[in-house]
Each structure stands twice: as C-alpha cells, then as structure tokens.
C-alpha cells in the first residue's frame, strides 16, 4: 500500500484503522472463496489421474506429476471440436444480427417526436414483460421450419430488448446538435445512424459485443430443444451431455488405456477449462465499460 493511502487511513481514529484492516482482510477472503472453485477446476484438470482418484479433499496444488492426458482426450474428440466451431459460427452470425437489429431499433426509439414512436415503443416494452411461454415459443420455431438448423439458435434471440434499451440510452446521450447538424446537411436517418451515432458509441458497442457474445457462448437450452443432429450441437450442449447427463461413452472409447473410469472426472475438469477460458480471458479487457453499461440499461431514471 502506497504512502498516500496509509496517510488517508491514518488521519482517522484507531477504530477506523481497525475497521479498514478488517475490511481488507474480509475482501481478501471473499476473493479467495470466489476464485477457489475456478482454481480447483484448473489444477484438477492438470493433475495426475491416479492421484485424483484417491480422496483429494481441499486441494491447494495439483496432484503431481502433472498430466495433460485429459486435454488430449478432450481436444481429440470430434464432437468437442465440431461444437466449438458451431458455437463460433453462431456467435459471429448471431452478433451480426444482434448488433445491426438492435442499433436500428435503438435509433428509432430515440426519435420521440415521431408519431409512431410511442406505439412502437409500447409494443417493444410489453414483450419484455409478457411472453407466450415456453411451449408456444417451441411450437413457433417448429412452425417456422427452423428445427435442427443453426438459425433456430440465432433468429429467436436476434434482439434482447434489455440490450437494445441500453443502446438507446447511449444513442440518446449524444448531443442533439450533432444529429441536427447532420440532418440540416441533408443526411438520411440511415446515414445519421451509421456516420454520426455509431462512431461515437464504440464503448457501448464493446459492452454489447460482450453481453450478446456471452449469451451466445453460454446458451444451451434452446439448442437442447431445437437441435437433434449431434454434429450441429453448440459447445454448451456437448458440455451438458458430458457434464450433467454423464454421457461420456464416446470419450471412454477414446481412452485406449482401459482407465476410462479414472479419466472421466478429469475429462470433465478439462472440458470446463477448454470451454470457459476464452470468455474469462476476454472480459477483463472490457471491464472498464461495464459500470456505464449496467447503469444506463437498468433504469429509465
């Protein structure tokens, strides 16, 4: 802790110093407790399979000798790689739909002088708080002929109303004079959106990429309803098969050493790491934009 900080703390009484010390200690404990489950999965995934089979309790270090056998099995498994690729396709195409449609909608929602602003805003808001329910949603996708297609994982979630409202707030915060000036220059609405507004809202777009991106990456439920062909599974559906339903026969077939039972837990740990690392690596870079994003989106104010 730097000198300036200590001075700030020292100028208060001893009780405050005691509290401050306790506060730091407590927060450190919170961090450790929060991080431990993730850390546990990480070290377990690199541990020696035989040692992991014995009771491991509260592990602080991986069981030596370190082993990457579980990773080899996971990464050699055809379904894991295919589903990884599927998820990336869904993510990229999904984001294109998400960002373009949400920007269009958000732009319209800033035009509160238009006659149709209110009815359309009401139509959109109402859908946020009332829905037909699970079965009608399923039957709808079925009747649209989207079953067992990647589109069934992209189109029904093309817009998150919440995210669109976050965007609207960012758009509305742009000074009117800029938009007015462009309008006087004869710019169309589309031009105003693409050349005036979007270039000024890069930070918000970063948050949107993260929000929408994470939701695509983590989605499993719709796929469990709509996708029947295993080669079309997104990553999370394969994870669910292996981690939740315990269907790892295909993995066991690829462990030729006859230690399938021994490896099955390690396979789970390494699969968790393989599927989660990309997101955990990405998000700290976008962290500074969060507060803004959460704040403007939460409330009308």
């Amino acid at each position: 802790m730097g000198k300036a900080y200590s001075n700030k703390i020292m100028q208060h009484g001893p009780w405050y110093q005691l509290f401050y010390g306790f506060n730091i200690l407590f927060l450190t404990a919170v961090i450790l407790v929060t991080a431990y489950p993730i850390y546990f999965v990480l070290i377990a995934s690199f541990s020696d399979p035989a040692a992991m089979n014995a009771n491991y309790g509260l592990m602080m270090l991986p069981k030596f000798p370190l082993s990457i056998r579980a990773y080899k099995i996971v990464l050699n498994h055809p379904l894991v790689l295919v589903s990884y690729k599927n998820t990336i396709v869904i993510l990229v195409v999904g984001l294109l739909f998400n960002l373009s449609l949400s920007s269009l909608g958000a732009y319209f929602l800033t035009l509160n002088k238009s006659m149709w602003h209110k009815p359309i805003a009401m139509l959109i808001l109402f859908s946020m708080y009332f829905s037909g329910g699970l079965v009608p949603m399923y039957l709808n996708v079925r009747s649209l002929g989207l079953m067992d297609t990647t589109w069934s994982l992209i189109l029904p979630v093309a817009i998150s109303t919440y995210n669109m409202l976050v965007m609207r707030s960012a758009f509305a915060a742009i000074p009117d004079s800029l938009v007015e000036a462009a309008r006087l220059d004869g710019a169309s609405h589309f031009r105003i959106l693409t050349t005036v507004i979007l270039p000024l809202t890069g930070a918000m777009m970063a948050v949107m990429v993260l929000y929408y991106g994470v939701s695509h990456w983590n989605a499993w439920f719709n796929a469990s309803l709509f996708i029947q062909t295993p080669t079309k599974y997104p990553l999370q559906l394969v994870l669910r098969q292996v981690l939740i339903l315990g269907q790892n026969a295909e993995f066991e077939a690829s462990t030729d050493m006859g230690d399938a039972a021994q490896m099955s837990e390690l396979i789970k740990y390494s699969l968790i790491i393989v599927s989660t690392v990309p997101i955990l690596m990405l998000y700290p870079f976008l962290q500074r934009f969060f507060v803004k994003g959460v704040m403007v989106g939460a409330l009308k104010g």
Partner: protein
C-alpha cells in the same frame, strides 16, 4: 418554438392528414429501418402470444391452433386441472420458497459488498477484487451446475470441508432434499453477487464528494459519514431494486433447476417453470403446459406492473 410536426408556424394545430404526411416525410427512412425490428417482435414475441391460445384448447398440431377444439369448462379445463392437481401447491411453495430465500439471503450481499469495496483506497486492490468477483457471472450455467455437481458429490471438496467441520453424512448433497435451496442460493450468490454490486458501486460513486466534506466540517467521523451520507446516497437504488425484485417473486427460471434437480429432490426442487418444461416439452402435454405457463406469466406480469407503480411512487424511478 412551435413543433412543425404538430403546429403551423402561427401556432395553430395541423390537421391529422397534414401531420401524418409531414411525419412520414421526415421519418420515412426511420420507419423503413425499424421494419426488420418490428418483424422480429411480431414473429418471435407476438406470434407465440397468439400461440398461447392453445392453453384454452385441446391442441392438435394436425389441426393447428384455430381449428383445434376448445377445452372443457369454457376453455379453462387445463387451468382447473392444474389448480386441482397435487402439483399446484408443491410448485407454488417451491417457487416462492426459492425466490424468497434468494431475496432474504441474496439481496443484501451485493449492497454490503459494494459498501466494503467503496471503502478500499488502494486502486489496484480494488480493481482486482472487482475483476475476480465479476468473473463467475460470465461462466455458463451448464458449467456452474456441473461444478456444483462435482463439488457437492460424496468426494467433492464441499462435502469434505463440511466433514472437517463436523458434518457426519457422506452422501451427495444433491440427493438431500433440505440441501437444495441452500445450494441453489449460495451458488447464485457466488455467481452473481459481485456482478450485482456494480449498480450500487455506480450509485456510490455518484454521491457528491462535497457532502462528505460538509459532514467532516460538522465533525462527523467516518462511521457517521457512512450513516448520514453514504447510506442515504444509495437508499433510492436499494428501494428501487428491492421493489423490482419483489415483482419477480413468482418467477424462478427453469434452466438452473433443470440442470440440478433429480428424482430424489423433486419434492423441493421442482418449480413452476421446470414443471412447464417437463410436462410440455418432455411429456408433450402442450395445451396443459401452456396453461400452467400462462398462469405464471399473468401473475408475473401483474406483479411487475404493481411493483413498477409502487417504485415510481416511492422512488420516482421505475422500469417505465
């Protein structure tokens, strides 16, 4: 200045026809742009709402929504069957229990956490606490639930810790009925409390620093500053979020429940949404399941409307 879309330059109201033409002239481009958005909402929100009509029918996919016959009891047969079934009270109890437990144990955590982070002076430490505590929010539910399954199993580390602390059982905690709600709530706190503290941190950082200065000049120590400046500064946010949270008291999502429950703990873990999923999409009782879901949707919608009205009254802020 008179609005050229509503009034003539002399301030007289324009006729409806002129208004529509002028409005269209000015916004035609925007209307074209919003068309795909409207198409999305009509196809993926409003069409399923129409589809919820099957709650009042004996839906047969061969006949379609409109040609399927109406259900008995003036269309309310499925609703009545649900209200009279053994499941009704069980689902209601479980949904409300999980929801209230989350409210009582989960709601205060982010507030306390934000207050504690706010006291930290060392920027680096503060940033690391935030980075790490937000992290679990980004992990998928499938992964979180599989971690729970691994950790609370017979040889998982959570059972191990409990045994060190004197717990004598040795079974998988997910097979123990009374353990389900604590597992559900604690894992939720682990996953989301850090993330949920962001909004309070934002409210805290919006407090005017001059208020602290004034309090200091009046001789208030740190503790009194917290009570008289910090807490009042976030009370509005707390009340608002509390009211809105109460508006969601009847909605417990199905995804986490489905990933965690099993036959041993159904009695405590099954909630309305997971029942809708099971009856509707696993067993194929489409009309019945839609009725149960619609019942839940209507209650949730009513609660949100009431909560929003209350919130606007009490805090001057709301969802709309």
């Amino acid at each position: 200045m008179p609005n050229p879309l509503l009034n003539t330059p002399q301030g007289k109201p324009l006729s409806l026809g002129t208004r529509i033409t002028r409005d269209f002239k000015q916004y035609a481009g925007a209307y074209v742009m919003v068309l795909p958005v409207l198409a999305f909402f009509i196809i993926f929100s409003y069409k399923p709402m129409l589809g919820a009509l099957i709650a009042f029918k004996n839906f047969s996919p061969r006949l379609g929504i409109f040609r399927s016959s109406w259900a008995g009891s003036y269309g309310f047969e499925h609703f009545l069957n649900f209200f009279n079934s053994y499941y009704f009270w069980r689902l209601l109890r479980n949904t409300v229990t999980i929801s209230f437990a989350g409210l009582i144990f989960g709601f205060p955590v982010p507030i306390v956490f934000a207050l504690m982070i706010n006291e930290v002076k060392n920027a680096k430490f503060k940033k690391s606490v935030q980075t790490i505590s937000y992290m679990p929010h980004f992990i998928s539910l499938v992964v979180v639930c599989s971690m729970i399954r691994l950790f609370v199993s017979e040889d998982g580390f959570i059972v191990y810790i409990m045994q060190q602390l004197g717990y004598t059982g040795s079974q998988n905690l997910l097979n123990v009925q009374n353990a389900f709600v604590p597992i559900y709530i604690l894992s939720d706190v682990w996953q989301n409390a850090g993330w949920n503290s962001i909004i309070y941190l934002a409210a805290l950082s919006a407090i005017d620093l001059e208020l602290y200065e004034a309090a200091r000049i009046d001789g208030a120590n740190r503790w009194r500053q917290t009570v008289h400046v910090t807490l009042p500064g976030i009370t509005g946010t707390i009340i608002l979020l509390l009211i809105l949270r109460i508006g969601q008291v009847m909605s417990v999502g199905h995804e986490k429940i489905i990933l965690l429950y099993n036959d041993f703990i159904m009695e405590r873990a099954d909630v309305i949404s997971s029942y809708v999923y099971r009856r509707g999409l696993v067993n194929g009782d489409w009309s019945f399941s839609t009725a149960v879901g619609l019942f839940n949707s209507v209650i949730n919608f009513t609660l949100v409307i009431m909560a929003n009205r209350l919130s606007n009254k009490v805090t001057g802020m709301g969802l709309w």
